[in-house]
């Protein structure tokens, strides 16, 4: 048997979507009747021809996936990343045979189980025990397997006391824990997972991640879609980056994630960001903000003001060799200024002790030209146990600088806001330049 378990060629998938036409402010009754009549006529014709009904005044073909091709080898764990609407879920739906492609061909060597949602088919009226069997069967687990693993599932979910209670009485946490527990005990050759780690509290998430690592470690082939970059980083050996239905890049996880994080969020508009707790990180920035020197959060600065970038960090384990990296760019991505934590002489974040710390980086007044800026942060260490990148925040903060107090003002251009002194001194001699001629 060949080593390629999933082979995808020229895969495309289109949907038809409807658009509403422009709506007048005060529509005339006559126009409305005409429009509705036209819509009815179109629907009737569609139905007579056996086509689907699309709401709206006009219909457009929309390509959710276009000419996607890739291969996955046995035992690989592949992360699929991309923004919302990039086509990730469509790809998984096609691979798990829920919907068929419009063009292209997929060859799957092995039994596929897909997990596009936790608790698919859970019935609120049935008890926890009954739902384990129901959900297991829906996910394609043979009854004998479910019986064998029943205790393990219950134990993993931690719901022993409520096994005979209808799940509609469960807390939402218990519900998702039970649902994930069933799914985690699947044993297919190819496993397809969509965003299911985003359930439960931090502790349970950690448990799920551990379980997923076990599954990946057993030599199964796994396709994993997630927006949780930490999870992708720790689980996947390689990554596939989808953008607008096309494969933008494929390769090793570290490389793809780096490119993805750099590119994907130039549209940040935040002067204050609070980041969700991620217990897998030894060092994590929990809060970031742009402030004036007096501590007031601000997004619009004058060229003549100092700008303070303030990060509140939590250290769970001192990281040897940790350093910070800051890159300030213009909205269009042009790199303007780079700084790292060695710049002040010494490195204040290296081996930082456990607990909470505030890190402040000051951009001096009149250093940047008027414009809109984005600040990118990354914390890394060549000596960290968890890998080089410790907490990659990507483009995190944004701020704007205006300059009303100089004559050139906001039209200054260039990269710097620095005011250069123009000096003139009286001179009695003939200019030197003239004598050269």
């Amino acid at each position: 048997m060949s080593d390629t378990v999933i082979s995808v060629e020229n895969l495309s998938k289109s949907y038809f979507i409807g658009h509403g036409g422009p709506r007048e402010k005060n529509p005339m009754l006559r126009d409305m009747i005409v429009r509705h009549a036209r819509n009815y006529a179109r629907k009737a014709i569609d139905m007579a021809r056996g086509r689907q009904i699309i709401q709206g005044d006009s219909v457009e073909e929309f390509w959710a996936l276009k000419d996607v091709a890739f291969e996955v080898k046995r035992g690989e764990v592949v992360g699929i990343i991309g923004r919302n609407g990039a086509g990730k879920s469509t790809l998984l739906k096609i691979l798990s045979r829920i919907t068929e492609p419009t063009t292209g061909r997929i060859t799957l060597n092995g039994r596929v189980s897909s997990l596009l949602e936790v608790g698919t088919g859970f019935h609120p009226e049935l008890t926890g025990r009954e739902n384990i069997f129901l959900n297991g069967a829906i996910l394609g687990m043979p009854r004998a397997d479910i019986k064998r693993k029943f205790d393990e599932i219950v134990d993993f979910a931690g719901v022993e006391k409520f096994l005979d209670t209808p799940v509609k009485r469960y807390s939402s946490g218990m519900y998702v824990r039970l649902a994930f527990a069933v799914a985690a005990h699947l044993e297919p050759e190819i496993l397809i997972i969509d965003e299911v780690l985003a359930v439960g509290d931090a502790e349970f998430q950690k448990k799920c991640l551990g379980k997923m690592k076990d599954v990946a470690g057993q030599g199964r082939t796994v396709l994993f879609v997630s927006h949780n970059m930490a999870a992708v980083r720790s689980l996947c050996s390689s990554c596939l980056w989808l953008d607008c239905g096309l494969i933008r890049e494929a390769g090793s996880t570290a490389e793809i994630l780096d490119h993805y994080l750099r590119s994907s969020t130039k549209d940040v508009k935040a002067s204050e960001v609070v980041l969700p707790e991620d217990l897998t990180k030894e060092f994590q920035v929990r809060k970031a903000r742009v402030t004036k020197m007096d501590g007031e959060i601000c997004s619009d600065f004058l060229c003549d003001e100092e700008i303070s970038l303030e990060l509140q960090c939590e250290v769970r384990n001192p990281v040897p060799g940790l350093y910070g990296y800051l890159q300030i760019s213009l909205r269009d991505g042009t790199e303007v200024l780079v700084s790292d934590s060695f710049d002040g002489g010494g490195n204040p974040v290296d081996n930082l002790s456990n607990g909470h710390h505030t890190l402040r980086i000051t951009v001096p007044a009149r250093s940047l030209a008027p414009g809109e800026y984005v600040a990118y942060f990354n914390f890394a260490s060549p000596m960290s146990a968890a890998g080089f990148s410790v907490d990659c925040l990507g483009d995190l903060l944004s701020f704007q600088i205006t300059d009303p107090n100089t004559r050139r003002g906001n039209n200054r251009g260039g990269f710097f806001g620095t005011l250069l002194p123009w000096q003139i001194t009286p001179c009695s001699l003939r200019p030197a330049m003239a004598s050269d001629k």
């Binding site: 045979r97 829920i98 068929e100 061909r105 997929i106 088919g121 049935l126 069967a137 394609g140």
Partner: protein
């Protein structure tokens, strides 16, 4: 095991796949049955009360008020009930099957399995109700001291026939319902209308001879007449010509239903 996914590719091992998923069929059927009477006070007794009350009303209206004739000397109530059993089975099965895909939309859009499982499993619910109502029939036979002849052994044949008679249109409508929700409103109408054009409250013998052929295009006519013949015996003679036509219509609808279902099955997840 190798699977190839391509647009329009007919599943070569579809029927084998269906067999593979028989456990899911069992589980879904069991779910539908066990959920049916959850959080009701009298629970399964509803399956007894509803047909019993309907039978009473029909007996009074058709037997006592309209004074329609029964089959030979069979008590009118018994004749009504022998017709109502297959009719209730048919109508419940048809409505359950027609709505099955839409009400299981979360499954259809998130997991792969041969979709045929959903409507067929939902028919099981109707069959369980049928078995429960059968208890009433036995009770009534004891009450009227009526002993069925050896032809009662053929009853399972007609049960299977009723199953196919409901599954055919059920599959067809559930497939259409995914695309056009209009069909959701068609089913209650068919069921209501069908009750009066099928020999439920009256005996087929009251239908004038010249209308018989048209009348027997209704597949339930053959099934209900067959039931009456099995249960009540020679008193309700089975018209083989009528029965043949009903059988052909049933077979046609089953073919149409399965074909339509298979043709549209792959796009269910996109349209639902």
């Amino acid at each position: 095991m190798q699977t190839i996914l391509e647009p329009g590719r007919a599943e070569k091992n579809y029927w084998r796949d269906l067999w593979h998923y028989r456990e899911l069929f069992q589980v879904l059927a069991w779910r539908d049955v066990s959920v049916r009477y959850k959080q009701t006070v009298i629970g399964i007794a509803w399956a007894l009360i509803r047909p019993f009350l309907t039978m009473l009303v029909f007996t009074v209206i058709f037997g006592k008020v309209a004074k329609l004739p029964s089959e030979g000397n069979v008590p009118y109530a018994l004749m009504v009930f022998a017709g109502m059993l297959p009719w209730t089975f048919f109508s419940t099965a048809l409505s359950e099957a027609s709505n099955s895909l839409v009400s299981n939309a979360n499954l259809v859009s998130k997991v792969y399995f041969p979709r045929l499982i959903v409507p067929t499993a939902s028919v099981v619910v109707a069959f369980i109700d049928f078995l429960i109502s059968f208890v009433i029939l036995v009770g009534m036979m004891l009450w009227f001291q009526f002993l069925p002849g050896p032809q009662i052994l053929l009853l399972p044949v007609f049960i299977v026939l009723a199953f196919f008679a409901s599954l055919g249109p059920g599959l067809w409508i559930t497939a259409l319902n995914v695309k056009y929700r209009d069909f959701r409103y068609v089913i209650p109408f068919i069921v209501q209308f069908g009750l009066y054009v099928s020999p439920v409250g009256f005996s087929s013998s009251v239908i004038p001879e010249e209308w018989r052929l048209l009348y027997s295009l209704n597949p339930m006519v053959g099934v209900i007449d067959g039931f009456r013949w099995c249960i009540l015996g020679g008193e309700a003679a089975l018209d083989w010509r009528t029965f043949g036509i009903s059988l052909a219509v049933t077979a046609f609808f089953l073919w149409l239903g399965v074909r339509k279902f298979r043709a549209t099955e792959k796009s269910f997840a996109d349209l639902i």
